[in-house]
Amino acid sequence: MPETLALETREVSVTPVPHTHDEPARSAVSSRLLPVLEASLIWIFLLGGWFVAAEYLPLGDNPLVPSPLITARALWDSLPELWLGTISSFGILVPGFLLASLAGIGLGLSIGTSPRLQRAFFPFARVAAPVPPTVYIPYAIAILPTFKLSAIFVVFIGAFWPIFQNAAAGAHALEERYRDNARILGLSGFEYHRRVVFPAALPHIFSGMAVGLGFSFILLTVAELFGANAGLGRFVQYYADFADYPKMVAGILYTGLVTFLAMTGLEKLKRRALFWQR
């Protein structure tokens, strides 16, 4: 009966064949669980240490190390305020980072493909890029009309240089075969940059954007210490001033989580955009 036969063969080919392992069931479970367990170890260890420190160290009435439970409650109570702070902070971070990406990629690709522009711009970049962007904060606040604008400017400066440098490096490192092909096809100018240089430089650009996003968060929170009336950095500073350590720690944890989520989002975007890389 050919039908049964076909069914049987299909079943056999679909069923996982366990003969590669001595103990198939156990090794399958452990190979899936072990990495999770390994990754959890540090968290379990830190959380345990935190519990022990909060419970058994003589820290007084308003301990600098509030217990995890108290912190969790403070976090829960502060969520509405933290959410508003997030919106306020993102009102600075998003425009600053996006403008830096646009300018960094545009200038980086143009300069990276033009030896003449490189000669004109790189001597300046070598001096300007290493200046710590935090030193601009007081002057930016003094010179620009609103705090928000100054903070956007500082985030922009911090994110611009790594993105620019990586985009320029990526454009400069364009493989000769792609350049030859573009020339054979008569691609030039903006079309050449958009369809060849930009996609080829994307791996570099994403590295620059990851560094730039990290800097953006640092500069955002530092700038908020100077003059903001809302925001994530402002939240932490505000409750530190009132010695409300549970809320302060809650703010730190929350900011960490937001930064992590933003980085993860960028990483996802990168994987999606670079699907063509083997």
């Binding site: 096809l185 008569g186 691609l187």
Partner: protein
Amino acid sequence: MNHGLVLDGIDFSYDATTILQGINLTIPAGQFVTLLGASGSGKSTLLRLVAGLQFPERGRLSWSDAPITGPGLNRGVVFQDYALFPWMSVVDNIAIAIGKARPETAKSARLAEAREYLVKVGLESAIGKYPFELSGGMRQRAAIARALALGSPLLLMDEPFGALDPVNRARLQDLVLEIWEAATPRKTIVFVTHDVDEALYLGDRVVILGSTPGRIIADLPVEFTRHRERRSLFNSDEFHQLRESIAETLAADTLRQLVAA
């Protein structure tokens, strides 16, 4: 009148090393010429000069009576390393060439035309795919489709099948011959290879380059009738004789190099 491809007294050096010396070559329009030589004979460089990607130190190049001053859409190129753009789908890789060669073509018409070229090279199954999803042979088919899509009367092929396994290599050789023989007027093809059998199977004429510096050491007509049949050709006495004399020419050049060194 089209005088074809004319190379007149070409010298080319790179980093004080002479790569090509005194190259004189005229290829009439419609001829299939194979450029045969060992590695280091400058045969790829010669092709890059014709493509307009590099410029000779001395001498003149012209195609169809117009001097070659840079890359142009009247010359299509297929390189050895599959130089499709990996971030574009296969059909987009072809469509971009059509868009450059015939900008008046509407976008949808470009895609339709690109599909036709892919069908022509036997890639209908790969139309929506990306280069990383294709085998080496399929990528090279796509590269050929792109060069054809440019519609250029001159096709430059730089060891296009050098990285392929023998079966795929033979299939693609037949594909190139089939396309070339079917077209009227026939395209002029300059095909670089270091494989003697490939040179003889494909060419109307084999131009042999010697090494250090690269220069023409032989220029032989290959007069086997067209619509060549691989097996009977490879077994014929004429084929063996020609193959033998080319091997001797190449060996003599290697010996000359050793003596000079």
